[in-house]
Symmetry: C2
Subunit: 327 residues, 2 copies
């Protein structure tokens, strides 16, 4: 059955293949009924949804099922973490072409589980939906708990706060560039990744793109340390910092020297899925975060770099930047 296509199986058969890989439910009602019934300890639930679409979001020559499952989990877990919450469960809506191999689906389920176990232990897939589509599409809903704390919104940054971030900014964008530069054939089509010629740093950049490992627990840590605002860095630092600045009515002034060895990639590269947060003082910034700027009164621009407007590319917008002809 491992080599069958999903079109040869019934929905129930595909579902049972997936459920075998997901591990035990932790919920009052887990997969298999019309809906899951999940605990929401403090009388609230944090909820988000994010979709990965074949083409704009991934290429199957570059991403296997395991990587995709892992990434689909990771990007949604990061959105829960960005509220200062702990992820508790996922729902996965999977739309697949008939020709999709069952072995791919098994790998995807394993990646979802492994991503949860590595990044947010205790978070489990508790439900989902299977349907057929010409375009492989993975929509993941993540739910989480604030454990009684207030949510950390993107609108709370205060003048005088320090700006801090987790993770190696720009690595995911550098990984994507590596894929486009080195792993396409003469016609521009994606080809399988051969890691043997990559340096250690290049391998890490590729991982940041294909199988990101955001530090999910840093979200709760930041909330407990008194973060005044927080968000997930998904579309590039300048674009996302601009959203936080606009929501807060302030300007975020970033320090170029604090952005690592490739500051322009850090400023404009998307998909890092680190956390961007503001704290009242430098002393309040918890381990795992690097100070990268300061919050100023709103001035000529929501984002400055070393006090000046940033003239580079601002980040990734799927409706502006995706061009199917790229490969």
């Amino acid at each position: 059955m491992q080599d069958a296509s999903v079109g040869e199986l019934s929905e129930g058969e595909i579902l049972s293949v997936i459920l075998r890989e997901l591990g035990p439910s932790a919920a009052e009602v887990g997969p298999g009924d019309d809906a899951a019934v999940l605990t929401a300890d403090d009388g609230r639930v944090v909820a988000t949804v994010d979709t990965l679409v074949h083409g704009p979001d991934f290429r199957l020559a570059w991403s296997g099922g395991f990587d995709l499952g892992w990434k689909a989990a990771a990007v949604n877990l990061a959105d829960i973490a960005a509220m200062g919450a702990r992820p508790t469960s996922l729902l996965v809506a999977l739309a697949m072409p008939d020709a999709t191999r069952v072995s791919f689906v098994v790998d995807l389920a394993r990646g979802l589980r492994a991503g949860c176990e590595a990044l947010a232990p205790g978070c489990v897939v508790e439900g989902g939906d299977l349907t057929v589509s010409d375009v492989l599409t993975i929509a993941v809903t993540a739910l989480g708990t604030l454990e009684g704390r207030p949510a950390v919104r993107r609108s709370g940054a205060q003048v005088g706060d320090v700006v801090a971030a987790t993770g190696r900014l720009g690595d995911a964008a550098r990984g994507l560039r590596l894929l486009f530069d080195r792993f396409r054939d003469a016609a521009g089509n994606p080809i399988a990744v051969d890691r043997s010629g990559l340096t250690g740093e290049e391998g890490r950049e590729l991982d940041a793109q294909l199988r990101p490992s955001p530090h999910i627990a840093d979200g709760v840590r930041a909330a407990m340390a008194g973060a005044t605002a927080m968000m997930d860095l998904s579309d590039g630092l300048v674009l996302d910092a601009g959203r936080m600045a606009t929501a807060s009515g302030v300007t975020l002034d970033l320090h170029r020297d604090a952005l690592g060895p490739h500051p322009d990639d850090a400023l404009s590269g998307g998909e890092d899925h680190g956390l961007l947060a503001t704290f009242p003082t430098t002393d309040a910034v918890p381990d795992g975060f690097q100070v990268i700027g300061v919050v100023r009164e709103y001035g000529e621009s929501p984002v400055l770099v070393d006090g000046a407007r940033y003239e580079g590319s601002g980040g990734w917008d799927p409706y502006r930047d995706w061009d199917a002809s790229r490969g």
Copy 2:
């Protein structure tokens, strides 16, 4: 801007068009942050996801944006109702081709809102995700509250219970057949629906398919009346009753005479989105439900019709029954 395509706008511009149509948030944190923060009054949340995909699930010649938004809400609200819960909020993941018209997106948002207001007042879209895809795909996550009650699972049917259902079973399937029979051109491609030649009954069947109105409040009513098992009728009565019977370890014996004027359509037709439930006695069956059978000890088959195996088609399975060549 109404006539622009989404590919001409930024993600933020599309989002603001949608948010204008959705009405006010009822949540602690609504749309616009990394995740929504929703109330979960009794310390639990009911959660489900369901996806509508262009092709297998709808044709744009037959369904406008408003109908699609309404249907995407309705089918998910029904899954929440089927647990005995009251829907409280939706998250909507929308993947659209660049060429999608903004006016279509506006209609979709209006349909989502109108479906919630008509079927589950108080339920609001509190978040979502926008992405680009070659195939229009609408994945809706619905959340709900059990208000302190136990969930009504599909596994609780007891020998001697009566079987009951809401809605006009088979109408949605008859509506789909009407579309295939009357609203395709000579090459088999879908064409716009002209209702002028339809009888009142045909119009109602078309509505059941294109803009279903399941009685969502009947789910809570059934739970309060002591329903022992309940589920949403999405894939056809025989197939869904078989799932309830198997989960409960019993046989559901259905009365053909109780299934309305088109019993074979009622038995095998999908997408009715009524509720199938079991109750300890006929007296316990609340208004809105029709008695359609009785629960027996598990025998030769999970589902019987008047005591005999049903030999017709059992229902809809997307991986077995969808054939792109149908039009």
